[in-house]
Symmetry: C2
Subunit: 189 residues, 2 copies
């Protein structure tokens, strides 16, 4: 059964394991094996923080290399864009030539979200690249073009779904649409 | 001369080419060839937006594959974290086994920045993973651990530099420190 790495910031939710388990069940229904970052089941007790981080990173990089594709949760996380760790993982799998797919539960374009962010932050608090003179990329995408194009070039399409407030990291309709794409792309010859 | 891909959101500055040129000069001084994403010099006139995005992505992926290392600007961009496109590129080079180095011109930990973000956004506007019950990773890093550890595992160290307000994307002291790391790591034999 093809293995799919389940990238996304839902690992930070208090019910992360439950969300991962729900994703895994949906994977199975599509003939895929879901691999959630927390699956490594590391015992980090007693380790210093840098060592903990090193073990988690090594485990996740190993899990990625063992997978045939990635489905990434691109929903904005603590700002305009997706989680940086998830973006790292999308690039990682892209470089390995594995299909990358993605969904977001916020429907607005990257451009519209960036403009809203600029309006929401006091001018004096804006870093220089956040100021009005800096360009906001405008390719009608949901995310930075490196991510958007990696998905399209994989044979997928970024799935955008409007969900009820507070369900942005838990609604799995977009994830299921990605699973259908992954199953199609990974189907044997 | 080893080639170093210069990843960062300064490509969106109005003076992007000048910043890239300054970085390239510093690279040469360290015996390295700087490769700025805008170096591809693409002619995108007359192309539809999705096609433009595709060409830029293909050019950048090609430039990355032609490079021996990446130095990434990790300075926060439109939110708590670094630019998502840059995070993608760090992951991309990491998967290829090329050294990844990085600097940020905001010195606060990822944890402190996330906490400040939560306080700054009206509760009702917080997406679910931004709410207080979601975990904020706490490994004393400047960024998500996948990025921080990739740099440490490359033999580098994330460089944090306090810079004057409004110079976050232009101050190159941290970049120079990364160049010294890159020159050391890439030095033959």
């Amino acid at each position: 059964m093809p293995r799919v790495y389940l990238a996304g910031p839902e690992v930070f939710l208090p019910d992360a394991l439950a969300v991962g388990a729900r994703k895994a069940v949906l994977c199975t229904a599509h003939g895929l094996e879901g691999v959630f970052p927390l699956d490594a089941g590391l015992d980090l007790s007693g380790l210093a923080k840098p060592e903990q981080a090193l073990r988690i990173s090594a485990a996740n990089e190993g899990l990625m290399r063992s997978c045939d594709a990635v489905i990434a949760n691109l929903t904005p996380f603590r700002g305009v864009s997706m989680d940086a760790g998830t973006a790292f993982e999308v690039g990682f799998m892209r470089a390995l030539g594995r299909p990358v797919l993605g969904y977001t539960n916020v429907t607005a374009d990257y451009r519209a979200r960036s403009e809203a962010y600029r309006r929401s932050v006091p001018q004096a608090a804006l870093l220089d690249a956040d100021r009005p003179e800096a360009e906001i990329e405008d390719f009608e995408g949901a995310e930075n073009l490196m991510i958007e194009v990696a998905i399209v070039a994989s044979g997928g399409l970024v799935v955008r779904t409007a969900v009820p407030a507070g369900q942005e990291m838990r609604d799995l309709a977009g994830f299921e649409a990605c699973l259908a794409q992954a199953a199609e792309i990974l189907r044997p010859g």
